[in-house]
């Protein structure tokens, strides 16, 4: 089935599936936040009255701009009318794919680390591997959601109508919903997103800044927001970004790579337990991917939760069960049907891709768009999805590096893979964990899509066995743990106030 057909089918499903909510979500200012203490943590000053000369001058400026709107400016209005949060998710997917390249080895066989202070060098910063990407998606989505909840609080506190409502001379170039326009939600999203993306993807600063500016201009040209709506929104968004940036600076990511001593200790620990320790199958051998990512701060789980969700050890490398699982992988990858091979490539999500967490955003977007939700509810949905995938990454990486279990190709060199072999321990499957958590959250948000999400999750999980990179235990345990991690997000969603 071609992608457009898939998308249109999904859209149809989503239309049938999306639960209806009050269009503007007037109470979103009371929804529980993730990082902010509450909507008033960041103050937004009252707007000038709509009768004031300054505001009238802003209206005149909009009318003047609308009367001279170029084709390109009109196209820009139409582009952003799809929704700022959705558009930024699409942009972020591309930023991740562009940055999803492992460093090339130097002549001496070492691998230079990407440097945040020199992002344009080779290797570029960042290497947006799956954990990095999961974290990036989650910071952007969670910050957008908190910023928009705060924006909604002030919108309904001040109740300033949109420019096209105040002055019928201002054209509404996109559908209006009667949402108060101060502070502008588009400016909030542009501010919070751009500030975080500049930290996460510094080499793309030019694109990020340009897109953010275009989003604000679109709000003005569309007659959605006046200059003061935009200024207040931008300031609010940027202030929220500062809070999230501070969290990101201290969440453990800076030390997530580990060190040669840490990697050696992990291998020694596996050996001491009588296990064959993981080693890199690349030439030259590459350090494991983000060995300490399991210590990075989670969103919806406590450190105790993370410890509790670490599954029991995998089958010992010398066990009969492991031999059986190894044989199963070899038989699978050497005897693939074309349909199985298609599943492998559908879910490969390797280098130069938005990674597995990005793939689940691509699955979610048609449902979210079709639901025609308010911007704040869209942001909440993507925040739940991406926070649970970040938490999945943490739990999965904690498990991987606790057990340091070898990949099938290491235990049996005759096992050849039909996708690139991920350069980190096998147990448990990241794709299975991400997918089970994501499917759990999406099924909560879009109940009638539950069967479809479940089917996609199963396919994503088994693709790793077909690909020759995971044992069945990795997959089954990964799915179980992923479902449980997804449960934390669903529990949060039930009580955050949005679904009451």
């Amino acid at each position: 089935m071609s992608a457009p057909r898939i998308a249109s089918t999904l859209t149809l499903v989503a239309l049938l599936a999306s639960p209806a909510f009050a269009a503007n979500d007037e109470t979103a200012g009371t929804w529980q936040m993730v990082v902010l203490t509450g909507p008033t943590q960041i103050q937004v000053a009252p707007p000038l009255s709509t009768g004031s000369p300054d505001y009238q001058a802003e209206l005149t400026a909009i009318k003047s701009a609308q009367s001279r709107l170029t084709k390109e400016q009109r196209r820009n209005v139409d582009y952003w009318s799809k929704g700022g949060v959705v558009r930024w998710t699409e942009i972020l997917l591309e930023l991740v794919a562009r940055a999803d390249l492992p460093p090339a080895p130097a002549a001496d066989g070492s691998y230079p680390a990407p440097d945040a202070n020199n992002p344009f060098a080779d290797p570029r910063f960042p290497f947006a591997n799956p954990p990095y990407a999961a974290r990036a998606y989650s910071y952007v989505a969670a910050a957008q959601a908190d910023a928009l909840k705060a924006a909604w609080y002030y919108k309904y506190l001040y109740n300033r109508p949109g420019p096209s409502v105040v002055d019928s001379g201002v054209k509404a170039l996109v559908a209006t919903s009667g949402l108060p326009s101060y502070p502008s939600e588009d400016a909030v999203v542009s501010g919070v997103t751009a500030e975080l993306l500049k930290l996460l993807f510094p080499a793309d600063v030019e694109l990020i800044t340009r897109k953010a500016g275009e989003q604000r201009l679109a709000a003005l040209h569309a007659g959605k927001a006046a200059a003061s709506d935009i200024a207040a929104g931008l300031a609010l968004g940027q202030a929220v970004a500062t809070v999230f940036s501070a969290r990101a600076g201290a969440d453990g990511m800076r030390t997530a790579a580990g060190s040669p001593a840490i990697w050696a200790a992990m291998a020694a620990s596996a050996t001491a337990r009588g296990e064959v320790p993981w080693r890199s199958m690349e030439t030259p051998a590459r350090p494991p991917m983000l060995a300490m990512f399991g210590s990075v701060r989670t969103w919806l789980m406590t450190t105790t939760d993370v410890a509790n969700e670490r599954p029991v050890a995998p089958p010992p490398t010398s066990s009969a069960q492991m031999q059986r699982e190894l044989a199963e992988v070899k038989a699978a990858v050497d005897g693939l049907t074309r349909e199985q091979l298609a599943i492998v490539y559908k879910w490969a999500d390797g280098a130069s891709t938005p990674t597995p967490p990005g793939h689940w955003n691509i699955i979610a977007l048609p449902y979210i768009e079709a639901a025609k939700w308010s911007e704040v509810r869209v942001a909440r949905a993507l925040a739940l999805l991406n926070m649970t995938m970040h938490d999945s990454a943490v739990v999965c990486w904690d498990t991987k590096f606790a057990y340091f279990n070898p990949r099938p190709s290491q235990l049996d060199p005759e096992i050849r893979t039909v996708i690139g072999l991920p350069n980190f321990p096998s147990y448990m499957s990241g794709h299975s964990t991400f997918s089970a958590a994501a499917a759990q959250v999406l099924a909560y948000l879009f109940p009638s899509g539950a069967a479809y999400f479940e089917e996609q999750m199963e396919e994503a999980a088994i693709s790793r066995l077909y690909g020759g990179i995971h044992y069945r235990s990795d997959i089954e345990i990964g799915k179980n743990v992923g479902r449980r991690v997804g449960g934390y997000a669903v529990s949060f969603a039930r009580i955050d106030g949005a679904d009451r």
């Binding site: 591309e94 460093p103 280098a351 050849r416």
Partner: protein, 310 residues
């Protein structure tokens, strides 16, 4: 990488060298009416260095990339001015290092019509011919194009228009020039998105750039012996470079220049049976392997209808 010539060469004989003898799409030879020329060619191609964009490098996770193929081909002369031809290869790929799985399978069917539209049999410099060729490539096997460089082909349908100019002296010396332009259909991946040329595309359809090629060969062809040297150049009209430390992508801009030679000898008293050997070396490229290619085969020529002189 190995499919660089699969993309633009048509008959089986061309596999290793890009230009070959004996009634291929890009030579100046036409069969006599009623003649069938068929055979089997084995081709072997390997590289341990490749161009990642314009950067020449090796890769410890690939080692040496070897492609082998077995081609079955047949040409038939409807008239001495119109020959039709077809070929099908079976292809194997493997990497000597790393963990990537080998691939193999039936690749693409190629069908071509070759028409000699201008002939001057007795000019002062020799027999001059101008030939036009239209050929089409159709993927036969349902192989994946998304596992480069181990995929056995690009899985794209192709249409090639070609012009060839050939001069052969009475003593047997010849010069041949050929140029072709290839249009390729979309390739469908098994995934709903891909990243190339700095952009993330939310579709499984990959637009494939056109390809232009140019070949010049010269040598001797008489008394059942043919020997030639040739140079072949391919330029892809678009497509992205292989990204740093990434796997290649199906629509990459694959350019190369190769130099090589070919010998073919019709074994006396065996009534049309001939053996051939060719070799070629890539000396310049972009997003392709720095490959050495050889091929060897047996061909058979038989006059199915003895009424001659069309």
């Amino acid at each position: 990488m190995r499919h660089v010539w699969v993309v633009f060469t048509i008959a089986a004989l061309c596999t290793a060298t890009g230009t070959a003898r004996a009634q291929t799409v890009d030579d100046g030879i036409m069969l006599a009416k009623g003649t069938l020329f068929a055979g089997q060619i084995y081709a072997h191609d390997d590289w341990d260095e490749y161009w990642e964009g314009e950067l020449k490098r090796d890769n410890g996770n690939i080692g040496t990339l070897t492609t082998q193929s077995n081609h079955w081909f047949g040409n038939y002369a409807v008239t001495s001015r119109l020959n039709v031809m077809g070929s099908v290869p079976y292809v194997w790929t493997r990497a000597s290092q790393g963990v990537l799985h080998e691939m193999h399978g039936v690749q693409d069917l190629t069908l071509a019509g070759k028409y000699s539209f201008w002939e001057v049999p007795a000019s002062p410099i020799g027999f001059i011919k101008a030939i036009g060729v239209l050929s089409a490539g159709l993927p036969l096997g349902d192989y994946t194009p998304d596992f480069q460089p181990l995929s056995i082909g690009s899985a794209a349908r192709r249409l090639t228009a070609r012009g060839t100019f050939n001069v052969q002296t009475a003593a047997g010396w010849f010069v041949n020039g050929t140029t072709g332009y290839t249009w390729r259909g979309h390739v469908t991946l098994d995934r709903p998105y891909y990243f190339t040329m700095g952009q993330l595309f939310f579709t499984d359809e990959v637009s494939m750039p056109d390809i232009a090629d140019l070949g010049v060969s010269s040598g001797y062809n008489k008394h059942g012996l043919m020997a030639q040297g040739q140079i072949t150049v391919q330029r892809t009209k678009g497509g992205g470079d292989i990204r740093r430390q990434d796997m290649p992508f199906v629509s990459n801009r694959m350019n190369f220049s190769k130099a090589g030679g070919l010998v073919m000898y019709e074994i006396p008293k065996l009534g049309g049976l001939a053996a051939l050997y060719s070799i070629a070396h890539t000396f310049e490229g972009r997003n392709v392997g720095l490959a050495t290619s050889m091929s060897a085969g047996l061909t058979y020529r038989i006059r199915l209808f003895s009424k001659v002189n069309p």
